[in-house]
Symmetry: D3
Subunit: 176 residues, 6 copies
């Protein structure tokens, strides 16, 4: 904790969240997450905010979940196909096509994604009720773990052959 006498308005402030982020990467996505690390005044406040840029024609914030937060997603530009999937045993997909001005809720801990199906860059905001929500990008976590998960485990879990798993495991897994 900072000495309260030394706290200033800048400790509650961040600038530049409107600046478009580069999305020229394999997934076509760029996530800027503001937590208590970037805004000290968020300490103990139970909130964080992320900007999500998605490249035109297929930019993807791939399936992921937040171990410690629910999310409201608000789309300000573009057209997205978004969804979350419920837990065992139903695995119901709740999906929707969003256009600018639409809001969608991703419940606590459930896997969700945003996929740019439009022909221009899309931008949305992720609102999270933790100052440290965490992000677990599913594929990256499983296939990009260090050290690697035993390939037999992933092969059996995903119904893939071991060679495919090991091929995946040696690929680079860029995080959004």
């Amino acid at each position: 904790c900072k000495d309260p006498r030394k706290v200033s308005p800048n400790d509650f402030f961040y600038t530049g969240l409107n600046v478009p982020r580069r999305t020229s990467n394999r997934l076509g996505v760029n996530v800027t997450l503001l937590t208590a690390d970037s805004i000290p005044g968020l300490n103990t406040m139970g909130l964080s905010l992320g900007r999500v840029d998605l490249a035109a024609n297929g930019g993807l914030n791939p399936p992921h979940h937040h171990p410690r937060a629910s999310e409201i997603f608000y789309l300000i530009k573009g057209t997205l196909y978004v969804g979350f999937i419920t837990a065992n045993p139903t695995h119901r997909l709740f999906a929707k096509i969003l256009t600018a001005g639409d809001v969608f809720v991703f419940p606590l801990g459930l896997i969700h994604f945003q996929w740019n199906i439009g022909s221009r860059q899309a931008v949305g905001f992720a609102i999270l009720n933790s100052q440290n929500p965490g992000v677990v990008t599913t594929a990256n976590t499983l296939f990009g773990a260090v050290p690697a998960v035993l390939s037999d485990v992933l092969a059996k879990a995903f119904q893939l052959d071991v060679a495919t798993v090991e091929y995946l495991q040696q690929l680079p897994w860029q995080n959004p």
Copy 2:
């Protein structure tokens, strides 16, 4: 609670948050707050989201606090003078001029405001970590209470004469 089998994607969805709201009222402000009432899927999720439109040249979201939520405010358009004031005994004002893309934090339960000092309509988003945060607009609550608070109480508290208080109490107090 809704029967889980009858829940659909629309229960997690809201549309039209990008539509500018009318701000032609005394304060020059319009707040659209999405809680579990407007998005059933927010139930138990601990989050809500508000859109704040502020008229050019002085639109004001007047001093208020949220009894059950911290807030991150994100300005997407315009120029605002915003601030919050700490509790007794310091009453320190933490204020900042925000332009588009700026973020500011209003800690749990503290009084804060947004004031449009620019020459065009401003729009920001209020991110709150409760599905039912509540809004207590300070002046409206005190001078517009029904039934009215004893004028002697407000006169003494605000160091105003009773006539002024009673004049204020019969005014209309529009909520943002």
Copy 3:
């Protein structure tokens, strides 16, 4: 945290809460609040206790709220007019005249007050469910902020002219 081996009964103890406090000030009020600062054993316990002395004939604990606590108020001596006001949009005043032995509840984060309408000093106790509840005295916070809130903001919020606001802003604002 204190070394547990060095903790003694005195860390859970406070004496003298029955001693009448001086109320010879503008508001006619004196609040003694026992938090984890005054009783180390309250650390992590989620409780605090305040004594409120109110001068005869108009002593006022002016409208205020606690950002992090609900309150039970228990009056042991005197006659008070007390109340709280609900959030937007209703602003309902829930008020009551209390005499010795009466109890009243002030819900989490709502603005409330105690006003001595009797001819003798009154004494009550404020029971709060946080070891650090905070007190935001409304008028003091808004008109006594350091640095001052822009007078235009307060004038518009309170429907006062700017001169009145600036007059108020240069007054002393004593906290209870």
Copy 4:
């Protein structure tokens, strides 16, 4: 939950907590506990308040704990020997003689007691951070359980012979 439109100030109110309670019973104690059952407005507020009357010369609020609350005890009249005992393995007694105006803290879930060592009736207030804190009076719970706990269990636990346990189990166990 009550329909909000039908809520009135009386739902936040209780009267008569200053009336002395009868303590002419075996223990010489009378506890009046105000929870959400007696004050509907305490619902979801996380607080309750108890009045404890203790007969002169030995009135006892016997060892007990609150399964869901920490406590601040405030003595307004009389002289008490009070204490709590820490958990395994230390079992440290933190005890103190209190006179009017003294405050003592009983941490969450620990066994504590109040014993009137003065020659006049004593009165204190128990402040609890739950709207439904629960009271487990130790001896009454163990020896007055319905149906009875196997006497062998209590005999071994308390290092008493079975006959003594069974004698105790058929006694009346009045709750404070």
Copy 5:
């Protein structure tokens, strides 16, 4: 909630958790999870308990997470390779070979797995701090969602070709 007068010891009871479960399925796993649905007395208690049976030579509780719980896993029989993977950006695998009597912790919301590397059936217990923790089996959720997730999304996320994804999506995905 059940009427308290009708609650009986059986509402806090479950029998037969020691009976071996059949593991003759594709994954070689069988999970019995006791929540407030199976033991009404767990309501509001913040706990649940699962039994995990894993077939000899490769029974797998495949990568999954609990959206609302941390876990302690206790192995009573067999030899397992278990692990969890941390969130972005590190994706560190914390893995260990467990034998009977070993305990391992899976932090809140992180993906983890148990893999039987021994030549006999293994049995462990999963201890969870929620009465309704939820289970999201990663592969099943993503590839077995109903309706199916757009194959393009999964192909890009997992760096698989669309044909492979669609092949996977039409497979049966048995939950543990």
Copy 6:
């Protein structure tokens, strides 16, 4: 907190919980409790796990409660008579005879016990939703407190004569 870069799988691991504990003591009981002290990875995880060994023919985990946790008890070997007692005013005993494979719930903060009524050593596991639940063994706490509780207090509370209380107070009180 440990530096995250220095954390290893062993910080989430404990071995040997399957090793029978010695129960050759007065109560015939041995409790091994794994908290964040023994498994650093439990820090902030809200869970702990205990092993309870009970000697044949009368081993007793004597009446106790956890100030900060609910419990699920799972019996893996032996035959126990277990129970908990509700708070004032009902003091209902909820008891049950358990055999291997049975599960029983002890609600937050209520006094409970386990008594071996079988002819072989019994072993169970206590699952607790706090990383630091605390154990208050009732008789030990009251009669073994240091310094001693005034014998008059215990005599009156337990309806025992003072000589019996003082005899008990000088006995050794072994904790499970």
